[in-house]
Every structure is written in structure tokens, then in C-alpha cells.
Amino acid sequence: MAERLKLSPTPIQQFNLTNGLRVILVEDHAVPVVSVTLYYDVGSRNEKSGRTGFAHLFEHMMFQGSENVPKAAHFQYIFNAGGTMNGTTSTERTNYYETLPASHLPLALWLESDRMRSLKVTQENLDNQREAVKEEKRLRYDNQPYVNAFLRFSELVFKNPANAHSTIGSMEDLDAATIDDVREFFRIYYAPNNAVLTVVGDFDETEARELIEKYFKEIPSQPPPPPVDVSEQPEVVVRRDIFYDVHAPTSAFMLGWKIPPRRTPEFYALSLGAELLFSGDSSRLYQKLVKGDESVVSIQGGIDERRGPSALYIFALPKPGEEVAAIRNQIFDEIRALRTSGPSPAEMEKLKNSLCNDVVRGRQSTMYRAQRLAEYALYDNDPTLFDSELDLYLAITPEQIRDAVERFLDVDNRVVLDVVPAAMAEATSADEVSETATPASPQPPGEPKQPGAPAPQVPSVPPVEPATEAGAAVGGPVSSQLEQPQQPADPPKQTDSGSGPLHT
């Protein structure tokens, strides 16, 4: 995979303010819009037990007013200027972002700086947003089939509570959050030296630098936040469990593995191996199970990508009456085949072209670029990875893929989670889980964990129009202006979409 696509380098400008705020600028005059993101280095990984869901609840509070911006005025200023905005929380970080007509760059910087400097928290607003978050949890998790099983899944994979618990948190912990917690959280994590500001779009660099200095430079820095321990044992926690799902119409199952952190050669190799296994109609598992055996309705997978130990999972919807154990064995056989013979030359070609296509397509939207740049800056302290990471992927050899699959997609050290419709609970015999290596921990009813993992895309009618890759930030306004007649359901979709204050 040595060939290299010829792309002009992204004109990345980076500098730090004296208070430690890291700034990244990329000028692009194609369309008169500008995207601004603020990434704070705090996510559910930073949460203490008893306060799960706090980073996300706090994210909602960031829209509830600051010294010079009244409650909910953030929404109004942005929308009324012709912009779009949102914020999301994941295991790794909390982000805030807006895309606006280019002339409104000062507004975005003023709004972001005001809440970084002087967030105002009141009991009334905390109570109100607690209710909004509870409704978000009901909407996106508790009222959906299969989604809470994904939260349960993380508890089976990860031992360390920092990794295992969900970003949305538990209703109980949300209730326990106090206004003092909110203030303390703000002081510790919402400091300029714990954040990255990214601006991409149609602006003048000198002007942007002056504005950024003007609005942000007086915000005081804070002592660094306490370190996070996300270390993990190599073994999964529970190898076999059952999740009874009140909304699932049919049985399903998940398989999962603990894998190395992002940005490691093993992670790159595994994500390419995973693509060969389950990405798209040409993938090995699709061709074997949906097509060949016709034993599953759909099979999909994904990677829960983290700075620490990460996870790889597969979600399968068997056809009624199919032998689930046999399907699982077929999957394990396909994994064994990949780790025995490795990828074929044709598969390596497809990986290369798919990587290049994604990279080029990702250079269109200002918001997509701003978000990726911010991640590379925050996680890796190197935004130029936006251009250079492709080479690291393209350098992965078939042998590395084979070895990584061999080492990490162990057929024994894995989680098998059966998702059973609650109505069928009594019919499922306890013998079913006799394979369990470690006794399954009791499942707290109604309080499943972890939203980082993408929800399964249950098969439905084909999309009206193919979705734009980087369309998340502009999805709202597009659908409101030119209403798409069929509205797809709205499960949480991507690892990095986390949970936001608004529908996206």
C-alpha cells in the first residue's frame, strides 16, 4: 500500500496563548462559512463513581448562561446569526461547536470565551437540565431496542470503572449531582490550559488571531486536572452474559474484544482487519452469513476508539429459528481464517482506496475538519496527523493485520452477550450461560452502561439520500429547509457523537 494520493497539505497554523489555550487555524475560502470548535479534555473517563453522567450533564449546563450571555441565549445567538451548533460528550472529551456565516466569527469566539470565563450555574437551571438529560436518556437509550445492551457490553469488556460506565450515566447519579459539584467541575476542567480551540473556514488569519487574543487571553489558567487511570487487565471481565431487552422484537447477540489504544500500530491493523470482517457488502462476514448461509438478517461491527484500552464489537441479528451457537462458530471461523492466511492482495487494494476516499471526502466540510484537527491536537498534541495519519494506515502490512487479529481477536478472551426479548426471558434456560468463565455480575435493571459504542443500525428501508459523511453538524438545517419525507429513527450513531444537548 505504498502508493500515495496527491493532496495539497492542509494549511495548519497552531499557537498557544499565554494561559495555555491551544489554538489551531485553517483558512479555506471556498464557501463563506466558518466552523469553530472548543474541545475540553474531560469526558466520562474523568468521572468518579456515584457521579456517572456528570460530564454530559455539565455539557448541558454550558448552554444555561454565563456572565454576559443569558440562559439559552447561546442557542439564540447562533441560530439567529444563521448558524448551527451543538455539543457532545464522549468517554474522551466534551466538545462544543458551531458553523456560522463567515462574518460571525467574532460572535462564536465571544460566546465560547464568555462561558469559559464565567459560567453561571443556578439550582433552577441545574434541575431543568437534569430533566432534559433524563428525557435524552429515555429517548435515545431506554426507549430503544438493543441500545442499552451496548451499555451493558462495556461493563463486560472493561474492568476499570473509568472505562466501564456510560457517558449518559445513571438516573440515580444524575439526581445526586449538586450545584457545588457543577462549580467544582467547571473550575477543574473548563480551564484554557485544558482545551483546544479550532477555527476552520473563510477568515483572515491575522484578524482571527487578534480576535482570539482579545476574547480568550485574560481567562486565567488553572492547575492541571487530576490524572486519569484507564489501565486495564488484558482479559475481558465477563465472557458470557444475557441482556433482557424490553423493546427488542427478536434475539440478537454481540461479540466483543478488548483492543489496544488508538494511534498504535496494533490499533491501525485491527481497524483494517475489522473493516475486512464486517464493513460493507463485500466484507467477509456479510458474504458468509447474510449472503452465503442466509442465517442473519444483518451483521455489523465497530470500534469503540479511546485513548486508553479500546473495544471492538460485532452485532448480529440472527433470523428466527437459526442456531445462534452455529452462527457464532461461523464468525469465529472467519476470524481464524483471517489470522491464518491474512488479507488477500485484493483486500489490501480495497483498504487503500477506501482510506484515500475517506480522507479526501473529509476535506470538504469545515466542521468535519475542525473536529478531527481538535482531536489530534487534544489527544496527540499533533494536529498535523490530520494529513499524515493516512500514511501510517497505508504503511500497515497484511502481516501486521494477520498478527493483530491473531493476538487480540482471541476466540476465548471475548465477550458474548445475548440480547433476548424480555418477553422470552422465562423461556431462556439458565443452562444457556453455563459457558460463563467468570460469574456474570448481576445486571442492574434499567441502568445499563456506556453510550460510546455505536448503536446497531437495524436494517430498515434504504436511506432517502446517501448521508453526507461529515454532515452531522449541518443535518438540522438541511432537513428543516428541505424536509426529507422519510425520517429515519434516531439512535445514537457514532462513537464520537456522544450525547449532545440537541438532536442532531
Binding site: P32, G82, P249
Partner: protein, 571 residues
């Protein structure tokens, strides 16, 4: 603390605005009627193709709902010269995308790739669009999997709500279909698919849009060689029965026991995409509910905390439309949410929107417009809609002016015309037993359905749920009418206990203890043991409860029933 700099206290003024460079679209029509639109854009080595046909789900044969969806799914499952596997492998080898889909009004085949593979992906796209063979084994597999997908869809409350809205609002108009049925899937045959493809995939029914790093001349040559022999045919008509006219407000509750929320949709008849009212409606919709600074969101979420989001939606299609207000709320505040929805729906009808609101709405609509043009896919989406809805050729140029031209009286005029609370359909998907008594104050006409869409009886309150009990539990102040025309005040104190209620009554006539009580969310019936002048007497009490008001009667053993009215003084 130091005094804040003054510039921090107010939002900064905008910088000078920067012009939008609208891309130039070149249109050609081939001799077979195929319209080709090319936008050259060499910023990145990418290309996007979209073949759009003016036939959609609405044109499915009435006995085969879902036929076009199944057809589009099968386009990539085999052609004259390629098997399903070969198509999948070729798309993957190119690192490209190729997929087809349909909505109510039109069908698209979409492809994109690196510019290097522009010719390969266009050739493949032409092959699947023009020469699909619908192999019997693939048809059979698709039928099986579509049936399974239906089960998954029915597990989604949002699907159930959309399905009911379509059914109620569109009547005999084909937009009433949201999904195939197990019967229509069974009845679909390879012959019907082949025949439907032959009838609808005709050159003069289609537009091919191309955007990206291409040269117009060479693309047109390739298009001519791939699509030049494509035959024209008869164009589909849009002669559909009109949707029913609603004359009163009614509710349609889909009982989904165990639902964690109530999905509420309040729907009225709307407009078509080409209605002259479209732009005033768009502005009205933006003030009312298009985004998180609109009235519905500010009220139901930011003020009340009932929901994660409350919005309106402008569903304007080629031949009909709806206007909807939606929210997913926690079950016990369903009634309160309806109250706030109707308050806002009435307000936008009865009062002109303010100067600031209309200015903000216009600023939003015109400002977000260029964001759509950032990506090739976004631009192609816009061009497809212009073509499929026969919008003016210069639509992208005039769009912002059309928004700016909308006036406050026009906004109120369309609100009065289309936002009609008294004729609204209230569709709710949720735990039916907990909903009936909350919906009743808003309409007497309530129909219940199960999640399969079949009409059912009002669901019984299966267990003593705290949400239902809360409507009755509390302190009530009653006035009991005697046959002599006196009003005797009494206090009824009801407490929610594990499996029912405890309670007591105090009045001039005597005091009593509640012995038994039942409550289904609306009707309360109980037995009270009275101590009257040292004698124990039993009385029956019955009442209808709604919105903290109760009306009913109380009868002491053999005496005639005494009517009472009451209101809750404390929860």
C-alpha cells in the same frame, strides 16, 4: 474582581459579509430525454453522481406497497454482466460508494468516488440502474430480510408514530404508506419487479447530476455512451386521491406497554413543496419550532423540562403535505405537554410574530443556506430537489430573497390557514394505560391501537401505577349538593399506598375512612365508612377526575345519591 472590559458585555458586531460563489451548473438534454447537469468543482479529487427519477413510493401499485424500495435494494444484487458479489467487490475495490433508495416522490441511485475512478464508478452505476436482472435467489433473500426489518421498525416508537400520522392524515392518498406489509412482501415477484423497473426507469423520467473534479465535455461523452441508448417511456402521473379533510380534533394512541416515554405528534394538513405558501410557512415554522431557539423548544424544554427536544416539522411533498409539532416526553407530563403545545399553536395563529422573531427566523434560514454547499453531496442534494420538485432553475440564487420577502402578516396568514388546533390529529405512542386520562381533557375522541396497528379497546390500568395514582392522590375540597339546595363543604384526603389508596373524609355531616378504592386514571370509585352521630354507615363515592377537578356523587346506604364537585387543593 477587576471590572470586565466593555467589549465583553455585548455580542460583537459582525465582520463585513463575504460573498457566496454559487457553483455554475451546466445542463444538457440527451436525445432520449435524459437531463444531465454538470457542476465542475476541482477543489478536491472527488466526484459525486446522482441519478434521480421522478417516480417514488407513492407510485407503487396499491396492492404492493414497498415495491420501489425493494426494487432499489435489488439494483446492486445482479446485472446482465455482474453478480451481486462482483458488484460489492467492485464498489469496495474502488473505495467508492453506490447505493439506491426511494422516498415518496422520487428515487435516486447515488455514487461517489475518487476522481481517479470516476469512469469506473459511473459505468457501474449505469449498469445497476439500467440492466438489473433481479436474480430469483436475491429476490427471495430480500423478501425474507425485508420482513425481518419490518419487525425491527415496529420496535421503534418513532416509526409507529410516523406510520399512524401517515395513515390518519393521508387517507386514500398514497402517502399513507410508510412501509410494506408482510402480505405485500409475499406478493412481490421477480416479474413485478422487472415490469416496474421497465416502466419507471426510463430516460425521460430521469436527471443525472454530476459534481466534482470532472471535465464537462469528457463527462458528457461518457454519459452519452453509457446512457445514450436508454429508452424513453411513458411518464408516471401524479393523479392521486386527495387526503381527507379533517373537521375535528381527535387522538390516536398506540399502546406500547413499557414505553419509557410518550412520542407525541400533533398534525394538520400542510402544503405541497411548490405551494405559493411555502416560504411564509418556512418562516412561520422557524419561529414556532424549527430549531432550539424556536418557541416550542424554549417552552417545553428550556422552561418546563418535559422533553429533550420539541420541534415542528414542515413536511411538504410533491402532491400533499403535513405540518407537525413533535416531542418525546416523559409519560406523566403528556397532558401538560399537550397543553403547552396547544398554547403555542394557538398563539402563533392569534398573535402576529414580533419584528425580532421574523428577523431572527430569516437570518437563520438565509445564514444556514451556504453551509449546505460545502460538500458535493450537499450541493447535489439541493440540485436533485430542484429537479424533482420542478423548482425554478435559479432556485439557489433566489432562495434567500424569497425568504427575505416574507412579511409578518403573511406569517400569521399561513399560521391561521394551516395551524388548526381544533382539527388536529394527536398521535401518541406510549404506555396507553397511563395516557388516556391525560389526553381526555384535550379531546373526547380517542382511538387506541396496538403496535401492529390494529384498533383495540382502551387499555386497562393493569397495575396501580404511581403516575396514574398521582392524578387522584392529594387533598380535595368538595361541595356536596343536598336535595334542599344546600352546599355542604367536605374535605377528602387521599393517599397513594402500595396497592391502592388510603383516605379520609371530614364534613359537617360526619367523618369517614376510605375502605376500598379503584381508579383507572379517570374514574374513581370507593367505599367510605362514616361515623355519623355514633353510628357507622357505609357510603359509595364515584367521581370523574380530570385536570385536578372531580365531579361525581356520593350515596349513603339507601339514600339518594348526592352530586358533588371538587378541586384539588394539594398534591
Amino acid at each position: 474582581m477587576s471590572t470586565q472590559a466593555d467589549f465583553l458585555k455585548q455580542p460583537p458586531p459582525p465582520l463585513p459579509s463575504r460573498p457566496i460563489k454559487l457553483p455554475a451548473a451546466h445542463e444538457t438534454t440527451l436525445s432520449n430525454g435524459l437531463v444531465v447537469v454538470v457542476v465542475e468543482d476541482s477543489r478536491l479529487p472527488l466526484v459525486s453522481y446522482r441519478l434521480a427519477l421522478r417516480t417514488g413510493d407513492a407510485h407503487d401499485p396499491s396492492e404492493l406497497p414497498g415495491l420501489m424500495d425493494m426494487l432499489t435494494g435489488l439494483l446492486t444484487e445482479g446485472t446482465d454482466s455482474r453478480t451481486s458479489r462482483e458488484i460489492a467487490d467492485e464498489i469496495a475495490r474502488l473505495g467508492a460508494t453506490l447505493q439506491a433508495g426511494a422516498n415518496s416522490d422520487y428515487t435516486t441511485v447515488a455514487a461517489s468516488s475518487l476522481a481517479t475512478f470516476s469512469e469506473n464508478i459511473l459505468e457501474l452505476m449505469a449498469d445497476v440502474a439500467l440492466r438489473p436482472v433481479f436474480p430469483p435467489s436475491e429476490v427471495e433473500l430480500t423478501k425474507q430480510n425485508t420482513k425481518e426489518s419490518l419487525k425491527q421498525q415496529r420496535a421503534q416508537p418513532s416509526f409507529l408514530a410516523s406510520e399512524m400520522v401517515a395513515r390518519v392524515m393521508f387517507g386514500a392518498h398514497p402517502y399513507h404508506v410508510t412501509a410494506p406489509t408482510p402480505e405485500s412482501i409475499d406478493a412481490t415477484t421477480r416479474e413485478r419487479l422487472v415490469e416496474f423497473h421497465r416502466a419507471t426507469f426510463v430516460a425521460n423520467n430521469a436527471v443525472l447530476l454530476v459534481a466534482g473534479d470532472v471535465q464537462q465535455q469528457s463527462i458528457l461523452q461518457q454519459v452519452e455512451s453509457l446512457f445514450g441508448n436508454w429508452q424513453p417511456g411513458d411518464l408516471p402521473g401524479d393523479n392521486f386521491p386527495a387526503p381527507p379533510q379533517r373537521t375535528s380534533r381527535s387522538a390516536y394512541i398506540t399502546d406500547r406497554p413499557g414505553s419509557a416515554q410518550a412520542n407525541i405528534v400533533i398534525a394538520n394538513e400542510g402544503i405541497t413543496r411548490t405551494s405559493p405558501d411555502y416560504f411564509p410557512m418556512l418562516v412561520m415554522h422557524t419561529v414556532l419550532g424549527a430549531n432550539a431557539s424556536s418557541r416550542l423548544f424554549m417552552n417545553l424544554r428550556e422552561e418546563k423540562g418535559y422533553t429533550y427536544g420539541a420541534y415542528s416539522s414542515l413536511d411538504a411533498r410533491r402532491t400533499a403535505g403535513t405540518f407537525r409539532a413533535t416531542a418525546e416526553v416523559r409519560t406523566p407530563v403528556t397532558g401538560d405537554s399537550l397543553k403547552e403545545f396547544f398554547y403555542e399553536l394557538n398563539r402563533i395563529r392569534n398573535e402576529p410574530v414580533s419584528e425580532k422573531e421574523i428577523a431572527d427566523a430569516k437570518s437563520y434560514l438565509t445564514g444556514v443556506f451556504p453551509i449546505r454547499l460545502e460538500t458535493q453531496e450537499g450541493l447535489v442534494d439541493q440540485l436533485v430537489q430542484i429537479k424533482m420538485f420542478n423548482l425554478p432553475e435559479n432556485y439557489l440564487e433566489i432562495y434567500r430573497n424569497r425568504i427575505q420577502a416574507v412579511t409578518i402578516p403573511q406569517v400569521q396568514e399561513v399560521a391561521r390557514k394551516y395551524v388548526r388546533p381544533d382539527e388536529a390529529a394527536i398521535v401518541i405512542v406510549g404506555d396507553g394505560a397511563q395516557l388516556a386520562h391525560q389526553v381526555k381533557p384535550h379531546t373526547d375522541k380517542i382511538e387506541f391501537y396496538n403496535t401492529a396497528g390494529t384498533k383495540k379497546d382502551k387499555p386497562a390500568v393493569a397495575s396501580h401505577s404511581p403516575e396514574v395514582a398521582a392524578a387522584l392522590a392529594g387533598n380535595w375540597s368538595l361541595l356536596i349538593e343536598t336535595p334542599l339546595g344546600q352546599s355542604i363543604p367536605a374535605t377528602l384526603i387521599l393517599r397513594n399506598i402500595e396497592k391502592g389508596f388510603s383516605g379520609k373524609v371530614t364534613s359537617e355531616m360526619g367523618n369517614g375512612e376510605l375502605l376500598t378504592a379503584t381508579f383507572d386514571g379517570e374514574s374513581f370509585a370507593g367505599t367510605i365508612s362514616f361515623d355519623i352521630a355514633g353510628h357507622t354507615m357505609e357510603a359509595q363515592i364515584e367521581g370523574e377526575v380530570a385536570n385536578e377537578q372531580m365531579e361525581g356523587s356520593i350515596s349513603l346506604q339507601d339514600a339518594p345519591a348526592l352530586p358533588f364537585t371538587g378541586n384539588k387543593t394539594e398534591n
